[in-house]
Symmetry: C2
Subunit: 329 residues, 2 copies
Amino acid sequence: MPDKVTIATVARHAQVSRQTVSNVLNAPHIVRDETRRRVQEAIAELGYRANQAARQMRTGRSRLIAVRIEPTRDGINGSVLDRFLHGLTETADAAGYRVMLYTATGDDQEIATYDDLLGAYELDGFVLTGTDHGDPRTAWLAGRGVPFVTFGRPWDAPESHPWVDVDGAAGTAQATSRLLANGHRRIAFIGWPEGSGVGDDRRAGWRTTLTAAGLDPDGLHRETEDGVAHGERLMRDLLATPEAPTGVVCASDSLALGALKAVRAVAARAAVIGFDDTPVAAAVGLTSVSQPLAAAAASCVELLTGVLDGHPTDPHVLLQPALVLRHTA
Amino acid sequence: MPDKVTIATVARHAQVSRQTVSNVLNAPHIVRDETRRRVQEAIAELGYRANQAARQMRTGRSRLIAVRIEPTRDGINGSVLDRFLHGLTETADAAGYRVMLYTATGDDQEIATYDDLLGAYELDGFVLTGTDHGDPRTAWLAGRGVPFVTFGRPWDAPESHPWVDVDGAAGTAQATSRLLANGHRRIAFIGWPEGSGVGDDRRAGWRTTLTAAGLDPDGLHRETEDGVAHGERLMRDLLATPEAPTGVVCASDSLALGALKAVRAVAARAAVIGFDDTPVAAAVGLTSVSQPLAAAAASCVELLTGVLDGHPTDPHVLLQPALVLRHTA
DNA sequence: CCGGAAACTTTGAACGATCTAATCCTGCCG
DNA sequence: CGGCAGGATTAGATCGTTCAAAGTTTCCGG
């Protein structure tokens, strides 16, 4: 293995001082053209790469972004995080940042981890997913002045910090419109109990679209925890009512899959639309609302690096989902 | 924000020298009990955390492990990587390491990324997933003397480097035995074209189990690319033969899902078993072979940190999968 | 009470980059 | 031809840690 190439090696090779090499890297405009060219050649020739640890010691910046990887609770939503992570890594890479993972069980343990990561690695920023009402984590980070972005709106105070989100209401609105366009008039919604920002948002899209079409949404919605079995139960329920729906929009693919089972079990012909476009949806041919995860990830990185590199952008990004048509609607 | 706490702050506070604090952290046994206690109190009181960048500069070790996150090709396998990543992060954490992500498209681009990562962050090691026959990446890493572990055996040279893998043959053998125990005699296998180590391994488990039971596997297997549609096509094919199978073991959940569709389409009652226990399998009630991903991740970290911290373990770990029984077998 | 080994602690340098401030050019004007 | 402005370049200090070597204390046996 050849000797380690440091900035001093490059400087010697290009017959300039260390600082000039540093300038070529960090402030090229202050170096004369001819000198810059010579230095760049030396860099290329030697395969020099700036040591981040040394740079970080001086500048206090690590070019590292931390993201939490969750314990894959349902499994069905795991792949969403997966795609998001990939997009994040790719965009961060392009912006000269790297992604570091961490896990934590529980909010206070997570905050301890922040402390750890900041102390040991001087992380530049955090990307949080799945924030809830009154999340203590965002408060802690904001209090310490640590840059961060959340994927998901802070429902209680939308202006409080930078976020990126997907317009869930627009997604369910699209789904509902699709069913309306196909001639459906009794369109149900199966979602989560009131109180979760995301769930309420998705329900709202369905409700307003129905109302706008002059239809009455009352009695056509059901709430439950997420899960295939729950979806199936509620859909059987709906199908058994006197005015059974001919189509249903669901807050998740799990619920939709359950609904689909119920429909098939009673040999009905109701249309079903899910949410998240998970692999499950693709596998069983379920029409579903797809979140632009790569774009969301890119926006997160953009917001964060914008703050870090001193050219901040609009700190609130709301992306539009798209309906992926398959067999069920 | 309080001033940064460095080793010097702690030293002053505990009335010892910097080096003694360093010794308490890295070689506690050479410090007298009473001194150590005093230093540890100071550390706790001040909330001191060793700066990794500075440590790394001196030691050349970053306590960072790199893992590739793939572009989620199929989507169905995405969640496997996801669970693996989570396990990796958790175990690495416990061993005092952190996980850094990277992506790359194509082997040579990936090698360039290695160079980048090693040069800039002095990564301690790599975890590779999905290695193929004659992988240039492992050769490059080995040539540079960079520690790494692969999740997946190097089929062409099993002794060449440390790896962790799941015994696919044992998995399909379990699946086949299960079907035998349930009275099935004509048990088919749908897998991938010959040549992929993983695929061949999974087929072998089925074949040897059938043979051991005195049954003839000939004519009962089909090969195709991965995908639901392919699985469905081949299963229809099998069901249409004079001696149609009453059960089928598949090399993946995608194939199994397709097979299941075919079975239902022709109103047959054949049992179906998939592989990987993806969320899809859980959602549709498909019996599937489950890989112990958390254990695999833990083994990867153990192997890697073992090499790094100088107490190497057996460099080849083969884990046993488990059959998850659901409705289809 | 002293010599000396063992146990423990401290000092100074080094890792590889950037910051600050000082020095060196170069061209231009009086 | 000297002086000077301004850009280009360089020398030295510094970030927080660990290594190597030197210094100090403690403990025993003679």
